[in-house]
């Protein structure tokens, strides 16, 4: 794998929405997800002639500081947040300039990835190309942009970084990490080659796909002797490909000027202290602690700690359930079902008591993995459709009585003479049919391996 990516250089610019009550420069609500088009607007965020921005939302600033601290960025007490105007014409931008601050912090690090800078800015509105309408509910929502050093050497490294970043935002709880509330621009080049910027990737998953695609594309160009030009490309989420947008001959001129209406807000020592006090234990630290005190594998620890609610659940249950098996169960079967539905644990609606019953019974060997999975799916489906679900395991307890199981197998053999004939004629696979019949009859309560062994023994 490593050779495939020889010479690859990747840097990321990650835009995340800060989950504040109000927008950055006005008092409109910032959560627009369930709002009717253009209902959360005012003269300020629609930039009506004559309107002026209010002073920077303090909560947004504190949330930003927390992210800076999490990314080990250097904060300079007494430094002002200087808001600038970045000019460009676009229908989603009501004033045709965007308010964006100068870097708030520089020189951070997450793992081995350097962080160049973080700054705060306002989100533009949402322009629907099809209808030509602009929804300004999003206009003015606080965004933080994190610019990494070009330190990634493969799409996997980028994915790992973004997973950790997502975990951090989840722990901080003040950053929206739902789909649509984040945006990534990726810079990809090969050593000595020109830099291609892929813009507007709207999910962390998309970043990985886009990077993989773009690397193959550039490699194919090299192979055919075509030079890669410096350009900006667009990521097409549906197709998983990048397409050319515009050639970047010279850097666009945004004519930055200090915003004359926005007085610089000073990052005081007190504000930094306040942010520090509110910092939770971060994912990286938690992983280390879990590995050390619960003796669980590091890779499962990262999965368990990928979401604060999941990590908390683990710690609670680990008091009564074998931590190693529990971690294995959470990072395996549980996470598989959640990922399949692209759900965070906290959104799944799964009850702690049910999870405890299910995992402990499974780990104790009282239910089969078939039953466990079945029940997990039933619970998630019930939650998704808003139905009440009661977890009952009495009837599905594993058939551990070998006499009973032998009886069932014998019965199955007796009532399927044709299958037995097939087997004797040399068709080994026909036994699978028998096993399937038995599993169906027992509703998965029988242990699949034990059933197969019994069939082989009794069919002779």
């Amino acid at each position: 794998m490593a050779e495939d990516y020889a010479g690859v250089i990747i840097g990321l610019e990650i835009h995340l929405q800060l989950a504040t009550k109000a927008k950055l420069f006005c008092e409109c609500p910032s959560d627009y997800r369930n709002a009717e088009i253009n209902t959360q607007i005012c003269p300020i965020c629609t930039s009506q002639p004559g309107s002026k921005p209010m002073s920077l939302n303090k909560t947004a600033v504190k949330n930003l500081l927390k992210l800076v601290i999490a990314l080990n960025g250097k904060l300079d007490p007494g430094a002002p947040i200087a808001v600038q105007r970045k000019h460009y014409f676009y229908p989603d931008l009501p004033s045709n300039y965007q308010r964006t601050s100068k870097p708030i912090a520089v020189k951070g690090k997450l793992g081995k990835i350097g962080i160049w800078e973080l700054h705060i800015e306002e989100d533009p509105g949402r322009y629907d190309l099809k209808t030509g309408k602009v929804d300004y509910n999003r206009s003015g929502v606080p965004l933080v942009e994190t610019v990494t050093a070009p330190d990634f050497r493969s799409p996997e490294e980028a994915r790992e970084f973004l997973d950790e970043l997502q975990a951090i935002t989840n722990y901080l709880g003040n950053i929206r990490s739902e789909p649509g509330s984040m945006k990534v621009d990726a810079n990809i080049s090969f050593k000595g080659g020109k830099r291609v910027e892929v813009k507007n990737i709207n999910s962390f998953k998309g970043v990985y796909t886009a990077l993989k695609y773009e690397i193959v594309r550039q490699k194919n160009m090299f192979a055919s002797g075509i030079a890669v030009e410096q350009e900006t490309r667009h990521y097409d989420e549906g197709q998983g490909v990048t397409t050319g947008m515009r050639k970047k001959e010279t850097a666009e001129d945004y004519r930055y000027i200090p915003d004359p209406d926005e007085l610089p807000l000073v990052i005081t020592k007190e504000l930094i202290e306040e942010a520090k006090k509110e910092m939770p234990e971060l994912p990286r630290a938690k992983v280390e602690r879990f590995v050390k005190s619960y003796k669980i594998r590091e890779d499962s620890a990262w999965v368990v700690c990928g979401e604060l609610e999941l990590a908390n659940l683990f710690e609670k249950l680990a008091k009564e359930i074998d931590p190693q098996k529990l971690a294995f169960w959470i990072s395996g079967p549980l996470k598989k079902q959640l990922n399949y539905r692209t759900l965070f644990f906290k959104e799944s609606g799964l009850r702690e008591s049910d999870i405890k019953t299910l995992s402990s019974k499974f780990i104790a060997g009282e239910i089969t993995d078939k039953v466990m999975e079945q029940k997990l799916i039933e619970m998630l489906n019930a939650q998704a459709s808003g139905k009440h679900f009661e977890l009952k395991l009495e009837e599905v307890i594993k058939i551990s009585d070998s006499v009973e199981l032998e009886k069932i197998v014998k019965q199955a053999i007796a009532s399927n003479p044709k299958v037995v004939e097939d087997f004797k004629a040399g068709n080994d696979k026909s036994l699978n049919f028998l096993a399937g019949q038995i599993m169906k009859q027992t509703k998965g309560r029988a242990d699949a391996q034990a059933v197969m062994q019994l069939i082989r023994k009794l069919v002779q």
């Binding site: 004559g50 209010m54 004033s95 850097a251």
Partner: protein, 469 residues
């Protein structure tokens, strides 16, 4: 000039000897008679004014407490948003733009029971010094109809001067209140940057803009200023009301008046003489007079135009033909569509300033121009700071010349810019300055300008009072 004019009228209204309705009718009939010659207004709100007057009369009759501007009529410059009314900025771009909200100053004057009589004419987006750059029609000077009223708040000044309104609101970015006050023979004041909220004032140069009052006399200007000033969460630059300029209690016999020689350098001799005569009057009242020099004033005009145009081009960016102005033809590339719409929507002077401002903020140019202007502005402010260490106020002419004829300077933008030489420094230094009539030349009035240090409006009012006595 009748001193105490505004106060007398207010007292009459409060005592019931003149109803607010009668006051409104008097102004409306003056408008009826003379507006066709002056063209001070873009919109006249006769019905609203009558309705509001009735409400105030009912309050007075019912002995309900009324505000400090009760029943007084006010003309409002067309770049200040009045909810439900057009805020045209005298531009084709905003010809049909109805403001969805009130500027803070409008909220405040309405809370004080003022009556808004109309939206006053101005230079398009305040870009001009004589009110001939209105996209609709020029305003005429009430003192001499062939001449300009000054600008950019020419309509507001003309409305007060012609007796169409008791008071008026204008905005001053580089002299836009003081110049027309001087040309129309009335009092106009630009207070310290941050004393009056700019929320709802359509931007020109955001670090320079300030809304201010016009009145027949200084006490009228003081009254209106006190009503509109004070802290506003919608404008971060505003001071708490306790700090903002208020009553005139300063004693001028203890004042040192600075006379910067640069203020008289290019002044018309007639203008200079009238101002110097007034200074003698102040000396006679016990003030000390001191000649000083402010060398940076020589550079004030270029510093001002660079600063203002940079901010102006940013503020004008939103008028793209997609939201305001002539609708852009969107069936083509966005850049072409927007440029075409902007080409059609803006007047010549607005375009000139937008282009200049865009040029000097371009990546390759910004250090050579805009950044230098910011530094030079600091140096100029510093010079004023030092002057105020030895002087209480600085006095000179408001305008170097008498009002010119309509059209005379329309084809010579540089000459027009130079006429701002004496007014722009106050905006750059963010200090208060006012213009008050100090003499006549035939039918025309001459204005005297008083500067004070930040938040020392009281000193300016004290000087004006002394000159009115």
């Amino acid at each position: 000039m009748a001193t105490g004019f505004t106060k007398n009228r207010l007292e009459k209204i409060l005592s019931g000897s003149l109803s607010a309705s009668e006051n409104v009718e008097q102004h409306l009939s003056a408008i009826d008679k003379n507006e066709k010659n002056i063209r001070a207004f873009i919109d006249i709100f006769a019905d609203d004014a009558r309705k509001k007057a009735k409400e105030i009369d009912a309050k007075i009759k019912g002995r309900t407490k009324v505000g400090k501007l009760a029943g007084l009529t006010i003309a409002v410059k067309s770049n200040i948003c009045i909810s439900g009314k057009r805020a045209t900025c005298a531009s084709k771009v905003l010809e049909n733009y109805v403001a969805p909200y009130n500027a803070t100053v409008i909220e405040r004057i309405l809370a004080e029971d003022a009556i808004i009589i109309g939206a006053a004419n101005m230079d398009e987006f305040a870009a001009g010094s004589d009110c001939t750059n209105s996209a609709f029609y020029p305003t005429h000077n009430p003192l001499d109809h062939e001449r300009v009223p000054g600008g950019s708040s020419g309509g507001s000044a003309a409305a007060v001067s012609a007796g169409f309104a008791d008071l008026a609101l204008g905005s001053d970015t580089g002299g836009s209140i003081r110049c027309p006050a001087s040309f129309c023979g009335i009092v106009g004041m630009k207070s310290t940057y941050g004393t009056v909220s700019r929320y709802g004032l359509i931007d020109m140069g955001m670090s320079l803009d300030q809304i201010g009052p016009f009145a027949c006399d200084s006490s009228g200007a003081n009254l209106l200023l006190s009503a509109i000033s004070g802290k506003d969460k919608f404008d971060q630059s505003t001071y708490a009301s306790a700090e903002a300029g208020s009553g005139a209690h300063a004693d001028i016999s203890k004042f040192t008046i600075g006379i910067p020689k640069e203020f008289f350098a290019g002044a018309d001799p007639e203008v200079a003489k009238a101002v110097k005569d007034s200074i003698k009057k102040l000396e006679a009242k016990g003030a000390k007079v001191k000649e000083i020099s402010l060398p940076a004033v020589k550079y004030a005009v270029p510093i001002y135009y660079l600063t203002m145009c940079a901010e102006f081009s940013s503020a004008m960016q939103k008028y793209d033909g997609l939201r305001y102005g002539f609708p852009a033809n969107v069936n083509q590339n966005l850049v072409l569509a927007v440029s075409e719409a902007r080409e059609k929507s803006f007047g010549k002077e607005v375009k000139r300033r937008v282009l200049l401002g865009t040029y000097i903020t371009m990546k390759e140019q910004v250090d050579a121009w805009y950044t230098k202007a910011i530094d030079a502005r600091k140096a100029l402010s510093h010079e004023f700071d030092s002057a105020f260490k030895q002087c209480d106020v600085l006095i000179g002419p408001t305008m170097p010349t008498l009002p010119w004829k309509i059209g005379e300077k329309s084809n010579d933008p540089l000459q027009m810019y130079l006429s701002d030489i004496l007014t722009v420094s106050a905006n750059l230094a963010q200090i208060p300055a006012a213009s008050i009539p100090c003499g006549m030349s035939g039918k025309l009035s001459i204005g005297l300008q008083i500067h004070a240090n930040k938040l020392q409006e009281a000193k300016i009012f004290a000087i004006m009072k002394a000159l009115e006595e």
